[in-house]
Amino acid sequence: MSVIDTGESATAALAGAPGSVELRSLTKRYGTATAVSDLSLSVQAGEFLSLLGPSGCGKTTTLRMIGGFEFPDDGSIQISGKHVENLPPHKRPVNTVFQAYALFPHLTVADNVAYGLRRSGVARSEMADRVRRSLDMVRMTAFADRKPAQLSGGQQQRVALARALVNRPAVLLLDEPMSALDRKLREEMQVELKLLQSELGTTFIFVTHDQEEALSMSDRVAVMKDGGIEQIGTAAQVYDAPESAFVAGFIGRQNAFTGTIEGFDATGTTVHTPDLTLRSSRQARGEIPAAVGGAVTASVRPEAVIVDASAAAATHGISSPPNTVHGVLRGVSELGHSLQLVIHTASDAQILARLPRSANPPTELGSPVVCSWIADAVRLFTS
């Protein structure tokens, strides 16, 4: 017993800082469907972590289990080093910003914010002070006497944030809080939320299906799929070094080619596809998930694709070097900061390319072009 106790307290001391969250082998089933399966995750104190994934990946269920609205069938949840998996929501040191805000319609803004302080028996004089400071923080003090129905979506969102943060939770849970806002407001709120989080130093766990939102705000992003974590890392890590075809496809757009491995050498890997030959700088160091002859998916981000119209005619008919493919420009669309080109290859495969305006990409539809990219841009996954 004592040996086990020592071991547990040692790990708890490491992960037990106020505001840390430790999920171990968390499992939740609904009937025969498994919403979350064997999920383990360590969130450091003061971290902004996003749970990112498509709908039905278990991200909201995970958040609800941390909040206490669902109880896990298996596994444990520690917040600030204390086990909470069997505690009801009101006994956990967390607060939630709900998807549709869930403000109390019968209470004023001030009373909504004071709700949690009342429940925990904070003195009236201190309550007014804390409510005001909390409303100041989200710039909603002027609306203190209004009812939620008299506020816009963005204002309601701020009140929901103030209502949760006024209780000084160890961890703040945010369940897709921006999904009801229009794009401009959402981008403003993202900046504000990130600022607020770094000022307060509170741990934020943020659930979203919007990859831009997750990448722009988070210290780390946990990409979820089918009830488990597919990859966890910083925004740059999951974007530049996706560990699976799913993560690569979910975060940003990808050009995916399926083919077979032709061979490995000192500088990389060669993959053969019906359209072209690809060279990846990844070598056989555990980075390549298959052996020679094995089926793989090679992916290239649209930003990495170089489109050249002048070279197209010159090299036409000559066997192409690796990472080069001939095609016809079929579409050009404006992205504001860049142009997106759609190129169809000889076998009618589609290649997306995103180029800055300054690169002067060809824009005449129907013109023959050559697409190419460097070997570093090619990532390989088992298909």
């Binding site: 909040g67 206490g68 609205f69 009801p88 929501p89 009101h90 967390v94 607060n95 939630t96 709900f98 998807q99 549709a100 869930a102 403000l103 109390f104 319609p105 019968h106 209470l107 004023t108 001030a110 009373d111 004071a114 709700y115 949690g116 009342r118 429940r119 925990s120 004089s125 309550m127 007014a128 002070d129 409510v131 005001r132 409303l135 003090t141 203190a144 006497d145 209502r163 949760a164 209780n167």
Partner: protein, 318 residues
């Protein structure tokens, strides 16, 4: 001449030709059916009752006459016997309404929140089917069940819970039981609607902010369902005050209610003037009680809101 021309110049849009103006449907036409309904089935009969109440019963063969008008019937109606029975009626109605609320709230809560959505229709039907059955038939069912030689009495006696036959029938207790049974669906329905509309995320938000199940119930569930509670209280209390079928079947002499007195004047005594005066008194009493209770509830609500709401005006000392 100029005085005539000036206004014509100020109205550049020509009015529609007089020949077609009559074709236009007046805007308020939609309110016509409800207006007619109120006039024919409420204002007219109610006016007649009030009119009769100022008359008198001239002789044994005539129900009423209005050639001499007076308040005498009201003086006659406001007898000690009337007030005694009115008091009992009020007692049965208030207790009955409160019992309905106490039984219906958990029931409606269970139906609207706990029950799986696919079973709600079935349970709602189970609540409504007895209600759709004839009022009199249902009440007579209770009369048969509660009678001293009825099956309830027999079962209780053979189980040795009671030694003598059941003596509930023809007491105000039987009437109390009967009215709660008869009016319960009228309380369940508005409460069910109110609770079904209640956003469960608000309850989660309350729990998240440190509210216990108990404080969540009083701080969120009750305030947000109070319109349903008010509707239920009125739907039960108002018809219950005027009920005369339930006490007639189950009450006997010890359990009579004021509705029976009114009916008695119209049907047995054939004194429409006195019956009308009693009916008017009863209506005012029901209206007055509802208004007083409603006002009190509103006052309590306002006081609790004032006591618990936070104002951030700069004047407030911190």
């Amino acid at each position: 001449m100029t005085t005539i021309e000036a206004p014509a110049a100020e109205v550049p849009i020509a009015p529609p030709p007089a020949s077609r103006r009559w074709l236009r449907v007046p805007r308020g036409i939609g309110a016509l059916p409800i207006g007619l309904w109120i006039l024919l089935f409420f204002i007219l009969p109610f006016g007649l009752v009030v009119w009769y109440s100022f008359g008198y019963k001239p002789d044994i063969y005539t129900t009423h006459d209005n050639d001499v008008l007076s308040f005498d019937r009201y003086v006659e109606a406001a007898s000690p016997a009337f007030f005694a029975i009115f008091g009992r009626t009020l007692n049965i109605s208030v207790i009955g309404t409160i019992l309905c609320l106490v039984i219906a709230f958990p029931m409606a809560y269970w139906m609207a929140v706990k029950l799986a959505a696919r079973w709600r229709g079935v349970v709602l039907a189970l609540v409504l089917i007895p209600y759709w059955t004839n009022f009199l038939v249902r009440t007579i069912g209770w009369q048969i069940s509660l009678s001293p030689d009825g099956f309830v009495s027999n079962v209780l006696q053979s189980a040795h819970i009671i030694d003598t036959p059941l003596k509930v029938l023809y007491t105000s207790g039987a009437v109390q039981l009967g009215v709660v049974y008869n009016y319960l669906p009228l309380m369940i329905l508005p409460l069910y609607v109110a609770l079904e509309r209640l956003d469960p995320r608000l309850l989660e938000a309350s729990r998240d902010l440190g509210g216990t199940a108990w404080s969540t119930f009083w701080r969120v569930t009750v305030p947000l369902t109070s319109p349903g509670v008010t509707a239920g209280l009125l739907l039960v209390f108002v018809p219950l005050m005027g009920d005369y079928i339930t006490p007639t079947v189950l009450g006997g002499a010890k359990g009579s209610m004021v509705g029976q007195m009114v009916a008695g004047q119209f049907q047995s005594a054939q004194n429409w003037a006195l019956g009308a005066a009693m009916a008017v008194l009863l209506m005012f009493a029901i209206f007055g009680t509802s208004a007083v209770v409603g006002g009190l509830l509103k006052l309590v609500g306002r006081i609790t809101t004032a006591a618990t709401s936070l104002t951030l005006s700069p004047k407030e000392p911190l």
